[in-house]
């Protein structure tokens, strides 16, 4: 199994979720993150003080999938999350040794 982690722009979350659901993914977990990279943030000015915002809001998505659908999942995320502009984010793929569904104790592909 693979664990696919994607860091995307927040406003793309709904599109990515829809795209994933369409490829048959049944679940995913998201969390708030902030990203530093090539994309430059705005400068905020508070009275005399300027703060360059180097960390920009991102959404971090984790999806666990079986090996055979990993590629198409990656593709689905990429298509949905891409705007073509700097800062669209990254997809990282990891090998996952084991998965367990807490409710039933089912493991591995059955657990996803």
């Amino acid at each position: 199994m693979k664990l696919i982690e994607a860091v995307i722009k927040p406003f793309k979350l709904d599109e990515v979720r829809t795209a994933l659901t369409e490829t048959g993914v049944q679940g995913l977990t998201v969390s708030e993150a902030r990203g530093f990279g090539r994309q430059k943030g705005q400068t905020e000015i508070y009275r005399g003080a300027e703060y360059e915002i180097s960390f920009l809001p991102k959404i971090r998505i984790e999806v666990a999938v079986s090996d055979d659908v990993a590629e198409q999942t990656i593709e689905a995320i990429r298509n949905a999350a891409s705007t073509g502009q700097i800062g669209d984010g990254k997809i990282f793929v990891f090998d996952m040794e084991k998965a367990v569904r807490i409710r039933t104790g089912e493991t591995d592909n059955d657990a996803l």
Binding site: I45, R47, G48, Y51
Partner: protein
């Protein structure tokens, strides 16, 4: 302070508005409470309390980092409590008991002889005392913005308590308690000098003495929640109606006009700051417009009973410009870390307001002519009031802080500052 045509027991205000003679003569008539004036002053007292808690507490609290917001609220709240008690014990007496030209006596300590029936002008004497108490509360509270994020709570209590008795009460006596500044004809309707210059200068001295916040210039010290600051600024504005119009100590034309000019100057200063920032920085900011509003409120404070609407408009614009300059260029250039711009806004705004009161004072409004009506001397008199206040305030503030620092230390340790004062000093956090 006031410009009532009704009999006044408090000579002080009368003196400062130049109607001393009338007032004293009028006193031969037995003083009687006017229920309308009393109703307004009860309300005004509530409004000025609202300025400190929650007004100022929120205005400041929203501007600091999340880990320090409770410490700001705590400071304002504790000051409110402590000053109330100290005012009763001896503060009121030092400010308003007869005394000499520099400080009041001890005759009113512990509110000795304050009866239910005692009358002051047209309101109960107890009401005048408690109205003034709310001023003694907000003035030290204003200072805490300067040393936000880094002062020990214990040191803060010692400092503000002593400061109120040694700096605030005497200066109040000078201007409103029959002291030398009122005799010299300094105009300060609602506390531009007594409250704002005073707090601003104390803030500047304290900011320099305690040193810069850790992380200044390297980390983001951006305001964590300007929603709080906007609520605070709005409540300050609303409460300031009690502050300025309440300083008429009556529900009359002077109070109404004070409210009118307060509204105009505030709006003008807020827009001025907003447009400058928009022009220079490309965006009009929320922090900017509310800062401008406070600057306008500060500047119209000494002028409120003396100028007309057009005077207020110019005072507002002038103060918007000056406070913007004070909170940006001046601070950056001079290099002190007055965290929430107590000097930049209250100090500068207070000075501008005091001087412009001398310029725009309108005989038809408050009985005194200013520069525009040919009385250039009034500007000099105003400057003299500023100088006297700045000198005494700066020296005394520095000495008080130095002594406290030697005895218990004024600055929190590095870890507390890093992890936040909320957790370190008060054992609490917000989620």
């Amino acid at each position: 302070m006031m410009l009532s045509k009704k009999p006044l027991l408090a000579l002080t205000a009368a003196l400062s508005t130049g109607i001393f003679a009338t007032s004293v003569l009028a006193q031969t008539a037995a003083p009687k409470i006017d229920s309308g004036d009393t109703a307004w002053m009860l309300t005004a007292t509530a409004l000025v309390l609202l300025m400190t808690i929650p007004g100022l507490a929120l205005f400041y609290g929203g501007m600091v980092r999340k880990k320090n917001v409770l410490s700001l609220l705590m400071q304002c709240f504790a000051i409110c409590c402590l000053m109330s008690i100290l005012w009763v014990v001896v503060g009121y007496s030092l400010a308003f008991d007869t005394g000499n030209a520099y400080v009041g006596g001890l005759g009113k300590a512990f509110l000795k002889d304050l009866t239910v029936g005692a009358v002051n002008g047209t309101i109960p004497d107890s009401l005048f005392m408690v109205f003034q108490m709310t001023f003694a509360v907000i003035t030290p509270a204003l200072i805490v913005g300067a040393f936000a994020d880094r002062m020990k709570f214990s040191a803060m209590l010692w400092f503000t308590g002593i400061w109120m008795l040694i700096v605030y009460a005497p200066i109040t006596h000078w201007v409103w308690g029959g002291g030398f500044l009122s005799k010299d004809g300094v105009l300060d309707f609602a506390g531009g000098t007594v409250v704002h210059i005073n707090a601003g200068v104390a803030g500047l001295v304290a900011a320099i003495m305690i040193g810069k916040r850790k992380g200044l210039g390297t980390e983001s010290l951006a305001p964590h929640n300007l929603v709080l600051s906007v609520i605070g600024a709005a409540l300050l504005w609303v409460g300031w109606f009690g502050f300025n119009a309440g300083s008429a100590v009556a529900a009359n034309g002077t109070a109404a006009m004070a409210m009118v000019v307060t509204q105009i100057a505030t709006a003008a200063a807020a827009l001025t700051w907003m447009f400058i920032e928009w022009g220079l920085r490309g965006k009009p900011s929320v922090l900017g417009i509310i800062s401008g509003a406070i600057g306008g409120l500060v500047a119209i404070t000494p002028a409120a009973g003396f100028v007309d609407p057009m005077g207020a408009l110019f005072i507002g614009i002038g103060s918007g410009l000056a406070c913007y300059w004070g909170a940006t260029w001046l601070k950056r250039t001079a290099g002190y870390d007055d965290a929430l711009d107590v000097f930049g806004i209250h100090g500068i705004g207070g000075i501008v307001g005091a001087l412009l009161t001398g310029v725009f004072a309108n005989k038809a409004i408050g009985g005194t002519a200013g520069l525009l009506e040919g009385n250039a001397g009034q500007v000099v008199t105003q400057a003299w009031g500023i100088v006297a206040t700045v000198i005494w305030c700066a020296i005394a503030t520095a000495i008080i802080l130095k002594v406290i620092d030697l005895i218990i230390g004024i600055r929190v340790d590095e870890e507390t500052e890093r992890d936040g004062l909320d957790l370190g000093l008060h054992g609490e956090t917000i989620q």
